[in-house]
């Protein structure tokens, strides 16, 4: 009994304190801990508070990757989500059970500024748009260190064979050719995910057949190739010594400062370098993951993450007003000046400045030519298995053969498809 009185008194005291602080609205915000994300969200919230002094924000950071996915899922399922949060669009958005957990944003005025291609990837099965874009679209490919390329007289490869030949020359020069960073397990997936342009160039129906349970990674040679390439890079012995213990931060440092030559990554890593190693920003170039055919070279593209408001938020109205504010050209420019122009924004009339970093200059031509880009699989199909990144760590560390991992991933995906209740599974 003592205990109960104790905690009741406590709850009362806490409510009192909370009441005093709540003369104004404080919106809680949960974002991933990438410096680019943090810088953008801080700039946006500061701008919003400047315009609406009675609204303040409390920003909380979380890790990325599968663990970050799980934090978001668990907090939504247990009703503990912040009032505003950022998260991937596409299949990961679908796995949040958005129809029940996320607020409908279809009627926000700001949606008029958003490109339709983005709205598609944040639309729940009932047709309601439930997010607005946060940050730029990204390319998935390979960062390279320009001084190393100049020193060794290399040119960016257009085929996988050229890429591996470059790696051999870099290795022969006593340098780290390919950087991998498996402490942040999500970074291990890039060789597979960024290969999707090459997959669809060979098998245009893969996404649809995959969703319908007709095509599998293990039985589609073009799709399997990503797993094989990861294995090939490991077997070539061109990785950094501490690949198992390095982090995403380490990877961006290494490729920008010349501790390593290649780092397969999404272009949002540019923001990281801009924050941590601004002097090295233009030492870093970028190319799409090469396939077999130089004539069919193109870039796999990621839609930006979105910001969402949980349906259960106690401050839903205020949070939606903030979201509406984010979906404007003005906010888009705020994000560009905070985090740099690392890719095209999906807000109508939001232009990039002329002086973009070198890696962005390398990426933009892909967008300017018809047929040189393809969306990543996660924006074409709602299924992405939760164990992919552990499997890719295994392949990339030589623990498991590529074919084996692809077959296991096909099984993993089945769990997710069943939980989503998709037909044919």
């Amino acid at each position: 009994m003592n205990r109960l009185i104790h905690s009741t008194a406590l709850a009362g005291a806490m409510a009192l304190v909370a009441g005093l602080a709540q003369a104004e609205v404080t919106l809680s915000v949960l974002i991933d801990n990438n410096p680019e994300t943090v810088a953008m969200m801080e700039a946006l919230t500061a701008a919003y508070t400047a315009a609406n002094p009675d609204v303040t924000f409390e920003i909380e950071q979380r890790t990325g990757g599968a663990e970050g996915d799980n934090i978001v899922k668990t907090r939504l399922a247990t009703g503990e989500m912040a009032d505003v949060f950022n998260y991937n669009s596409g299949s990961l958005f679908q796995a949040l059970n958005p129809q029940q957990t996320l607020a409908d944003m279809s009627s926000l005025g700001g949606q008029g500024n958003v490109l339709d291609s983005f709205k598609q990837v944040v639309t729940s099965p009932d047709g309601a748009v439930r997010g607005v874009p946060f940050g730029p679209a990204m390319g998935g490919g390979i960062f390279y260190n320009i001084p190393i390329y100049q020193e060794l007289g290399l040119t960016p490869p257009k085929t996988w064979a050229e890429f591996m030949a470059n790696n051999e020359k870099i290795k022969a020069a006593g340098k780290v050719a390919v950087i991998q960073t498996y402490t942040d397990t999500w970074t291990s997936q890039l060789f597979i995910l960024a290969d999707y342009f090459n997959v669809q160039a060979e098998v245009p129906n893969f996404a649809a057949d995959y969703t319908a349970n007709k095509a599998k990674y293990a039985s589609t040679p073009a799709a399997m190739r990503g797993f094989e390439r990861l294995e090939e890079v490991f077997k070539a012995g061109v990785l950094n010594e501490d690949f198992g213990a390095a982090t995403f931060d380490d990877g961006m440092r290494m490729v920008s400062t010349g501790e390593g030559a290649h780092y397969p990554m999404l272009t949002f890593g540019i923001g990281n370098v801009k924050q941590n190693y601004p002097d090295n920003l233009n030492d870093m170039g970028f190319f799409a993951q090469p396939g077999n055919d130089a004539a069919k070279n193109g870039l796999t593209v990621w839609m930006p993450a979105a910001i969402y408001v949980p349906e259960a938020s106690a401050n839903k109205e205020e949070a939606l007003k903030f979201v509406d504010f984010v979906a404007t050209v003005e906010s888009c420019q705020t994000m560009i000046s905070a985090a740099g122009a690392s890719g095209p924004y999906l807000i109508k009339g939001c232009e990039l400045p002329a002086d973009v970093p070198q890696a962005v200059k390398d990426m933009l031509p892909y967008f300017q030519t018809e047929g040189m880009t393809a969306p990543a699989l996660e924006f074409l199909s709602p299924i992405k298995g939760p164990a992919l990144e552990q499997l890719t760590v295994e392949v990339g560390s030589g623990i498991r053969p590529a074919a084996d991992a692809a077959a296991l991933y096909d099984q993993d995906v089945e769990k997710q498809a069943k939980q989503l209740g998709l037909p044919n599974w």
């Binding site: 663990e67 899922k73 010594e241 560390s397 939980q419």
Partner: protein, 286 residues
């Protein structure tokens, strides 16, 4: 008996209510939810599919074998080293009291804190352990990044943290052995080694049983240290049942997670119950 007992059974009631509602009821309910696809609101009956899934996916199976390996390794090492340390620390050494304190303190420290600390010490290139090994010319391994080593590295840290408790239990056990036994052995001309094997080991049997049982149960249920150090990686190479259960929970596969719980429950029961019976029978024989 008409008089009411001065030791009424209702004294059990308050504890029983809490225990039943929050421990027994969920344990029983687990056997039902393990047969469903479940999102916390609706549970769809799917028979034994979750168990089939557990037995079909190699990384879930490896979780089971890793659990066994981890439990047996940590329990075995704690038993052996605990006894040796206890003998050493009761032999009238210099600074004996201080040493006991030093060996025991890690038992009381936060597991997460210990895990994070050793993750830094075991870093393959920068960590103090490999830097020290390099000084004497040894090229240290990737303690937590080498898939065949990761589970054992975590088990070593578990040993570091837990051996103090085993030592303590053995010290108490040794103290209860009457000095007369050693006296008699000495008169018979027994060597130190003979005394250890013929007197100490048989007579600390109760302590040995406690140490084995406690550390085996702890090892089978182990989660925090593994989660703080490797999160089951690299890949799935240090995943144990408890971390698999947590991952499935996080991924939103609640039925599958609960099936993992049931498997863990059965595994512990199948190991500990026969072991306890065997220990008790031997005790009667002796």
């Amino acid at each position: 008996m008409t008089r009411r007992s001065p030791y009424p059974y209702w004294f059990f009631a308050p504890a029983a209510v809490i225990y039943t509602a929050l421990f027994l009821l969920p344990t029983v309910a687990a056997f039902w939810f393990a047969l469903t696809r479940w999102d916390l609101y609706t549970a769809t009956f799917i028979g034994l599919d979750n168990f089939r899934q557990f037995l079909a996916e190699p990384f879930l199976i490896s979780g089971m074998s890793n659990t066994l390996i981890y439990a047996v390794t940590t329990s075995g090492l704690k038993t052996v080293l605990g006894l040796l340390l206890a003998v050493l620390l009761t032999s009238g050494l210099y600074a004996q009291g201080f040493l006991r304190t030093v060996v025991f303190f890690p038992v009381l420290v936060s597991t997460i804190g210990v895990g994070l600390t050793f993750t830094a010490l075991m870093h393959p290139t920068k960590g103090a352990i490999n830097v020290a090994l390099e000084l004497v010319g040894i090229d240290g391994p990737g303690w937590l990044t080498n898939p065949t080593l990761a589970l054992f590295s975590v088990a070593l840290v578990d040993l570091w943290k837990g051996v103090g408790l085993a030592t303590l239990i053995y010290i108490a056990g040794l103290a209860s052995i009457s000095p007369e036994y050693y006296e008699a052995a000495r008169i018979d001309g027994a060597t130190r080694r003979q005394m250890f094997w013929r007197v100490t080991v048989p007579l600390v049997r109760p302590a040995t049983i406690t140490v084995i049982t406690l550390s085996l149960i702890g090892g089978l249920r182990s989660f925090d240290l593994i989660w703080a150090m490797t999160k089951g990686g690299p890949g799935f190479s240090s995943d144990v049942l408890a971390s698999t259960i947590y991952k499935q929970y996080q991924a939103g596969f609640y039925g599958l997670s609960t099936a993992g719980n049931v498997i863990l429950f059965l595994m512990i029961a199948l190991i500990i119950l026969p072991l306890t019976l065997w220990f008790n029978r031997r005790e009667v024989d002796a």
